[in-house]
Amino acid sequence: MDPIIVADRLGKSYGPRVALSDVSFAIAPGEVIGLLGPNGSGKSTLLRILAGYLPPSSGEVRLDGLDVVRDGFAVHERIGYVPEDAPLYDGMRVAEFLRFMARIKGLRRVAAARAVGASIEALNLGAVREAPIFRLSRGYRQRVAIAQALLGDPPVLLLDEPTNALDAFQVIGVRELIRGFAGRRTVIVASHVLAEIGRMATRTMMLVDGRLLTQDAMALAAAATPRLCVRAAGAAEAVRACLAAVAGVGAVEQAADGSFRVVAAPRPGQEPDLAAAIAAALVGAGFALSELAPEAADLEAVFLDLTRARRAAA
């Protein structure tokens, strides 16, 4: 399937400060992309460029085959955008604001009323329908901002920190909503919250210091060498020596809590049962084994590794 969003060597500078550098990626229709990065890594700048709000300093982005700079109007018809911190018209009431947004997205009166009703229902905003926006809590403001992005059923959604300021229940609601878009709409969710992204995205891109470090962090996590967490009673050095002697063990590290992390030596084509070998070796040597568990490399590990490697290189 042809990609719906293609970025080619995007760069953005604010004077001497480089916000984005050489960012290229392609996104297929129906993907839910998590855009992960620490604060100030360029996530919002990237989303603003994709939304056609900021022009890139170099490179180009095509959305549905359209250049976001030259064909801004047509691009805006295809996107729903939630800017960072959910800016809204404080003087309006919720339904009035949503009606206005629906109308400027080109919906006629009846269609606009229907879309507003559906959005209010999807984001559970019924209770504040007629409330003035300046009275809303942060959580409600965030949901109103998401509700306006859904109006007009755009094929692409760009959400900048959409779960900011939401409580646990609201986060679950929004996460389910976004997950439900997979396959039907293309979504890019920017966030600095690792756990959030891992739960709603079908693919995670990582942006650090304006550079795209990976287009698929989950694949990196899955491909990373498996690690085992081992806890055994006995002298630490003796346990470590025993672990290191097991065939197939690559590296042994001791964590602050006294447990060991065992990394398998890379042996292509072979999948030995390292856990069984370790258990046999420790028990055989007379150590009381209290924990032996596989530890999947998660997004956090990939994120930290890539960020450290990037900062060390810089």
Partner: protein, 233 residues
């Protein structure tokens, strides 16, 4: 058209749900009512020439207040990001704000037409200068609002926007005084930039296309520059 109507509706509501419109209207009607009755009792002449000159000065002072929030407030609240990523053009955004502000000026003039009606009821005024005076004021308002919307597009702060447009208006109110000091041909050039020089004929009953053209150019240039300012992000 649907989108523009929505933008215009929003701007008009924003103007009339804030206190600005009512404060401006109240101040305008109080001052003009006092000034109209005083002039009429003193001169016993069914003419609005004095009233027109007073409205002219009031416009220079109130237009910055009317236009200051138009774009500066969107920028401060960061709602500009919502507007400019929606399928509307920058020209539509600016035009809606411009027309809503012009609507308030037109309303002020419509309410002040009570004075002309009173003159018509109780006297025999010369209607030509009255009509030309109103046309001149509407054109002046159109030009001033253009400049006001432009300064609001540049400033991130409403007060700065108001102060910049007020300074510009005051400068171009009296710039003909400097023009007279300059050698030929600069004197004509600078004198012709004056708002007073172009407004005076309207107030006294003479309509020149060049004067109308001056205010229309001001309005168009203001809008054009505001659109350009929004485009630079």
């Amino acid at each position: 058209m649907n989108r523009f109507a929505a933008l215009l509706g929003k701007e008009t509501r924003a103007l009339f749900t804030s206190s600005v419109a009512y404060v401006v209207l109240t101040a305008f009607l109080l001052i003009m009512g006092y000034s109209f009755s005083l002039t009429l009792f003193l001169t016993h002449t069914p003419s609005l020439v004095h009233v027109f000159f007073q409205i002219y000065v009031l416009f220079l002072l109130t237009v910055p207040v009317i236009t200051m929030r138009t774009l500066a407030e969107e920028r401060r609240q960061r709602t500009l990001e919502l507007l400019l990523t929606a399928p509307v053009t920058e020209a539509q955004v600016v035009a809606a704000k411009y027309l809503a502000s012009l609507g308030l000026i037109a309303l002020m003039l419509a309410l002040s037409s009570v004075y002309a009606l009173l003159l018509g009821l109780f006297g025999t005024p010369e209607w030509g200068p009255i009509v030309s005076g109103y046309v001149g004021l509407l054109l002046l308002g159109a030009g001033l609002i253009g400049v006001g919307v432009f300064t609001s597009a540049l400033a991130a702060n409403q007060v700065v926007a108001a102060l910049v447009s007020l300074s510009l208006f005051l400068l171009f109110w009296i710039i003909d005084q400097f023009g007279y000091l300059l050698p030929d041909p600069y004197n004509a050039l600078v004198t012709n930039l004056s708002l007073s020089v172009h407004f005076k004929p309207f107030a006294t009953g003479s309509v020149y296309l060049s004067d109308a053209g001056f205010f229309i150019t001001m309005a168009l240039l203001g809008n054009l520059l505001a659109v350009r300012a929004l485009g630079r992000r």
